[in-house]
Amino acid sequence: MSKFVSIEEAVKLIPDGASIMVGGFMGCGNAHAFIDALSKSGVKDLTLICNDASMPNGPDGGDFYGVAKLVHNKQIKTLIATHVGLNPEVAQQSMIEKTLEVFLIPQGSFAEMIRAHGAGLGGVLTPTGVGTIIEDSPYCLGKQNIEGRDYLLMKPIKADFAIIAGAKIDKAGNVWYKGDSSNFNIVMATAAETVIAEAEEIVEIGEIAPEDVRTSAILVDYVVEGGKYL
């Protein structure tokens, strides 16, 4: 299988019950075309690791923006996120239907825990969450005092798949992100067994300067072309 595949081929890689990390923040930086195809695939029982569940409507219109499609189609069994308040379907499925389990993690810890797995670290020692209910999270392995200050030891987070999205991806697989769409895409690309990257545009090698590559081609297993899909 070549690195450059169709969206259909890439979606077939994801089995029922897989854990997927999806880059993006309220839909910005989600791999929109891939997620749309995944939402129509019938794949179920997914663990979704994403900052949020996006929003029912996109900023430029459209129903169920980005990962909100996966929630709407009830493909998510477990959601690990930092904020879900903008997608009321999460409350519906988790509090009323009780079909969705949600774990909440502070946003900075979430980013760092994903980075920690990708960077081979044993955990994250952060002051964030000390004295709060985060201490009782299954993702918190305890509290440690280091040189007079308390820190929580937070577990690294990994996934079977990372689904990332870049504005430009070159023919080697190097990724460049536009605006603040890089958000969680950068750390997630390091922390999954298989990384699928959606390009708005596939460009020639050299169009992204080697200094300006933000996710290296060596991290990217598959590239799909998504265009400006919303």
Binding site: P59, L104, P106, E112, G131, I186, V187
Partner: protein
Amino acid sequence: MMDRDQMRAFIAQRVAKELNDGDVVNLGIGLPTLVPNYLPEDVKVTLQSENGIIGVGTVTDENRDARHVVDAGGRPSEVAPGGSFIDSATSFGLIRGGHVDATILGGLEVDAEGSLANWIIPGKMMPGMGGAMDLLIGAKHVIVAMEHTAKGRPKILKKCRLPYTAINCVTKIITEMCVLDVRPEGLVMIEYNPEFSIEEIQAATEAELIISPELKPMC
């Protein structure tokens, strides 16, 4: 007596005095977003959006690009000239690492120990803390800007009853009634709004207020 908009403007105006030229500032939703309107000409701050903007700019019809640039509320946003975009790990590294000078946010409850509760009400769906816990422990100056009471009930308590967002983090509380410094000995009232008497302010506050010897009117 101020109406609600006047009250919010009054608080925002006072909060603006806490910011210094060159500060990097993170603003919570609601009232805090009014603060930049009251900065004097010679005080330029860099607004930071924790999802990845250093130097938040102004969205126009021309530069709007919601696919690639949003603020921490998921709304279309923009970077100002001289600003930059960063990824989430870098952004929260800056936040936890003390590179944000001030964060201004509201609270459901704040207490005499400088602990804050503003993210969940038990029994209701938890929206999630987002970046609030990190901002509270990381920003050098944590300013709670809020109305003094909620439907007449005190929000400034001896000890928070709602689940904490972070403990021992608030440095200043600014309401329409007063300005409180959070110090090891407790909440020290350093300014008050002369529309209210000291007794009225204390009556609207569950925590015991220490009156600063240098107490002066809010302005």
